[in-house]
């Protein structure tokens, strides 16, 4: 039971970070991003490669992971950001898939990523560090859990400050009507770019923690289903709500991992896996149909017509 709760809270923290990034894109800026998993992946791989191949120490490789995710965000955003919503959805999911395919079998790239075999052995330094910072009494999982949730809190506060500021006001304006914002003398492209890059950086950081959690990197971990899970979490909690990603993530993972308690005599392990995916799909549909504002979202905001 303890293991279940720890597992839920740890994974929920990592996905809360992912959802915070996505919420910046969609909830506050109105940018649809179905390729979020690519930022997650580049964060993990940047850290992993730097640490194993080039023996870069921990903190710089963390920073590099965020920088790489930011850069990927800009590279994706540069061309894609002026596309209309449905095209942006297709382009982002496609870029995510291209990225995974390249990690898996890109000529030249696989020398670094080791293709489908993946990367291991980057996490030791991170876990050794827990003695040094006085957290030696925690198990590795608990230690990671603490670090992750501290990060969630810090990111949450930073985003809260930012979105309360005039910068955040411009973002919301863009979400409502981009043309109106440009008629008011603000450059929507610049803001969309910043939003995209910042959300990507947060996802990159989440990728690093996820890599620490699972201990190895393999391209096929980073399937579009991850993006869909993050969307479910964000919509469940309530898009454009500050607490939404956190609450959504905890509830999501409590349910998702709850299928472990279903006795094997009733359904097999494979069936439980299918059931989970069906559950995610059904949850997405149910939220969009019955409560599009999510748990914490503002009902009033939802019913207002644009």
């Amino acid at each position: 039971m303890i293991a279940y709760i720890e597992g839920v809270i740890l994974t929920a923290g990592i996905f809360a970070l992912l959802a915070q990034g996505l919420n910046l894109h969609w909830g506050f800026t109105g940018l649809i991003n179905l390729g979020h998993v690519a930022f997650f992946a580049i964060g993990a791989y940047t850290m992993g490669i730097l640490n194993t191949e080039f023996e870069v120490p921990l903190l710089p490789s963390f920073l590099a992971a965020m920088v790489a995710a930011t850069l990927l965000g800009v590279v994706v955003a540069l061309p894609a950001i002026r596309l209309r919503t449905d095209y942006l959805a297709i382009v982002t999911i496609t870029i995510g898939e291209i990225f995974r395919l390249v990690l898996k079998s890109g000529p030249g790239v696989t020398e670094l990523t080791r293709g489908p075999r993946g990367i291991r052995g980057y996490s030791n330094e991170f876990f050794f560090l827990r003695e040094d910072i006085g957290l030696g009494f925690l198990t590795p999982d608990q230690y990671l859990l603490v670090i992750v949730w501290v990060t969630v809190a810090v990111v949450g506060v930073l985003l809260w400050i930012l979105l309360k500021s005039p910068w955040g006001r411009v973002l919301k304006g863009i979400r409502e009507d981009e043309d109106a914002v440009s008629a008011l003398g603000k450059n929507p492209t610049a803001y969309k770019m910043q939003s995209f890059a910042l959300g990507a950086a947060i996802a990159g950081l989440a990728g690093v923690f996820f890599a620490m959690d699972i201990g190895s990197l393999a391209p096929d971990t980073y399937l579009p289903i991850i993006t869909f899970q993050v969307w479910t979490i964000m919509m469940l909690g309530g898009a454009s709500s500050h607490w939404g990603p956190i609450v959504g993530s905890i509830i999501f993972w409590a349910i998702f991992n709850g299928t472990l308690f279903i006795p094997r005599e009733i359904i097999s392990g494979a069936e439980a896996a299918y059931l989970r995916q069906i559950g995610i799909g059904a949850l997405i549909m149910a939220i969009m149909i019955f409560r599009p504002q999510g748990i914490l979202g503002n009902r009033e905001e939802m019913v207002l017509d644009k």
């Binding site: 596309l83 959805a89 291209i98 079998s105 799909g281 997405i284 969009m288 149909i289």
Partner: protein
Amino acid sequence: MAEALQLIANGIVIGSVIAVAAVGLTLVFGILRLINFAHGDFLTLGAFIAVVGTGAGLPLYVAAIPAIAFGAAFAGGLEKILWGPMRRRGASTVNLLIISIGLALVLRYTIFWVFGEGVSRYGPISQRIDFGLFALTPQDVIIVFGSAAALLAVALMLQKTRIGKAMRALSDNRDLAEASGIDVDRITMITWLISGALTAYGGIMLGLQGRIFGNMGWFLLLLIFAGVILGGIGSAYGAMIGSLIIGVTQELATHSLIGIPSDLKTGVAFLVLIVMLLIRPQGLMGRKQAL
């Protein structure tokens, strides 16, 4: 050269399948502006229903009939209980798009649950026939001609029948079509029925290539998007041409002179999709629109 010809032939085979599916997707988009992420799983569903028939000993051309009928009924049923009511409640395009992602997951993993993780087949794949310049299996030949027949039927329907004309009118300008007395709900339903039938048929064509498995349609979905967008979203003829180009491009990319690993060939097709959206978002056949 021989290699290139063979790759082009392979590309036309897969391009034909993509084209059938792409037309189904683009017809719905033209009328509802809905990008249906569950479209790939509609293909899988069609393929598996036919497996039930062939498993019971029916020849494929007989087993295809209930599969196609089911595909149509399924798509029509969803319009009745899901898309129609959601539209009437004023759900946005993005809401519907996200619902379709959820629907895709429900469908795909229900198929996995029912049919398992294994690979099914309609029957053994026959030896390749050497046509001189290239070699194809008889199944490949059936795919190409079967798809061409379906696409021809759609084209004739769009051009010659009243319903087809109404569909085109609705797709061109919804307000104008409504004002001129077209029964929008009825045409929408018919479009879904046609799209559902066509997609199930496309799934069977895809299954004819050999392997039938739970992810087959999902794996094809982005290629279908690529075909649709390359041709110009909403344009049925564009989707046909775009899909063939996508099919041939991804096969040719693996040519020994180009040397893209075959694992990456779909990536090449995706790249074509992205480049197209950036330089000419209206597609090959689409019209330029203001704002």
